[in-house]
């Protein structure tokens, strides 16, 4: 096991501790809380009136924003290693990343012109 993996020991301990802690809280709650089942308690909340229909609808724009986000998330894969190694990449790396960012921004401008970012 190299030093790289050894430093994840703390992370592993932390994950176990976090799961244990939440499990403990929920388990303790289960032991001490009352259970008095009543049918009306399990009706989905709808501002006091009886629920109508099933799930609501949501705006399709949320979906488009999620798609746009994917672009910027993939960009992060390139820009983080670039930022960390910028000193050694130097001038060449800078020009390359500028071209990449410009292309990416063109995509955003296209989406903007198509009215994707307009909410109302």
């Amino acid at each position: 096991m190299t030093e790289f993996y050894r430093s994840y020991l703390a992370v592993a301990v932390l994950i176990l501790a976090a799961i244990g802690m939440v499990g403990f809280m929920l388990g303790l709650g289960r032991l001490i809380r009352p259970v008095r089942a009543q049918e009306q308690k399990y009706i989905p909340y709808e501002a006091g009136s009886d629920p109508t229909g099933t799930f609501g609808q949501s705006n399709v724009r949320y979906y488009v924003f999620a798609l746009l986000f994917v672009i910027f998330d993939v960009e992060a894969v390139f820009i983080f290693p670039w930022a960390v190694n910028l000193e050694s990449l130097g001038w060449f790396g800078l020009v390359e990343m500028t071209i990449f960012v410009v292309v990416l921004t063109l995509g955003l401008v296209y989406a903007w012109r198509k009215g994707v970012l307009r909410w109302a």
Binding site: L14, L26, D73, M97, G115
Partner: protein
Amino acid sequence: MIPILGADPLFRDGIDGTVVLIVIVKTIIVFTVLLVAVMFYVWFMRKVIADMQNRIGPQRAGPFGVLQTLADGIKLFFKEQSSPECADPPVFRLAPYLAIIPAFMAFAIVPIGGLVPVAGRQTYLQLADPGVGVLWLLMMSGIGLYGVMLAGWASGSKYPLLGSVRASAQLLSYEAALGLAVVGVLVHSGSLSTRTIVDQQAWTGIGSIVSQWYWLPAIGAFVIFCISAIAETNHPPFDLVEAEQELVGGFHTEYTGIRFAIFFLAEFMNVITMSAIAVTLFLGGPAGPALGFLAADSWVNVWVMPVFWFTVKLLVLLYATVWIRATLPRLRYDQLMALGWKYLIELAFLWAMISGVVVVGAREGWNRWVTVPAAVAGAGIVLAVLWACLPRRGEPVEEIR
């Protein structure tokens, strides 16, 4: 070992019983401190907002009402749990875990103090320094998003669903800006490790506040980071996820008792973690003057002073979040999305490129007084071109349906 990873010397000579024990003790301490900090922060927030609004605020439980949060927590333990009949039970139960475990985990990379000797070993006052460093924060806030999203979806109810869809779009948008703001520091530090970033901002006298700490060379990134961090933690004025007037409680409308408490715990824990990360990246973390009249290796200067300076900086940022919460009204949803996509992301990109030019210029030995204005001018031209490409106000755009 690659030096940029800056790993903890505790793990240098392999793992034995002492090392495991130290790690476990550190984990327990960080857990306790984090929980107590949340308790204190909620009290602090309520007290400060009460002062700003000429009220008294909590005062009954414990001295000055300090134990109010604890009392609320204990009360929630005794409350009945219900899950709506349309809910998806396994996911409904899983969601609180997904919300709070990343909140705990994200704090692990925060350097609270310096190098300390424990039981004959040297270790950092920091839980973990994994190779991915500050990306750990982005990973954890990405997983935390699933907690919010699944909680709303699994409730099988309309308000939570709307709340969680809103939450996902908001968190996604600001995560992009948050990541790009971090890039503004990474180009200067050349390392992802929070420990290395903090070491580069070491205290060398009062001048190091401007010469060493990254808030000044990365001032644009600092501002963008703070705005996106507030949005990322659903803190007012960006708390549209749980806008009471529109969505009742947002994604946790159907949660009761201790599960509800867990969502709140996670939310406030995220505020503390984000402030701590801002301190780490921009304000030098535990860097600060040591007590000169004591020896440099006395226990006060090794253990206490770094933690003290870290806490002071953290409290300043936490006070700022409370101040913002008490001052600014909530944004409208379209304003929120416009701020994220039309301004923060573009500005963060420009800032990353300007810092890139500055860093490369310093390495190549170009004149700083020429490269910086040239970079800013270049950014200005890009902005002007961008502006010219955009639809004018009132100009009809092709609608998507």
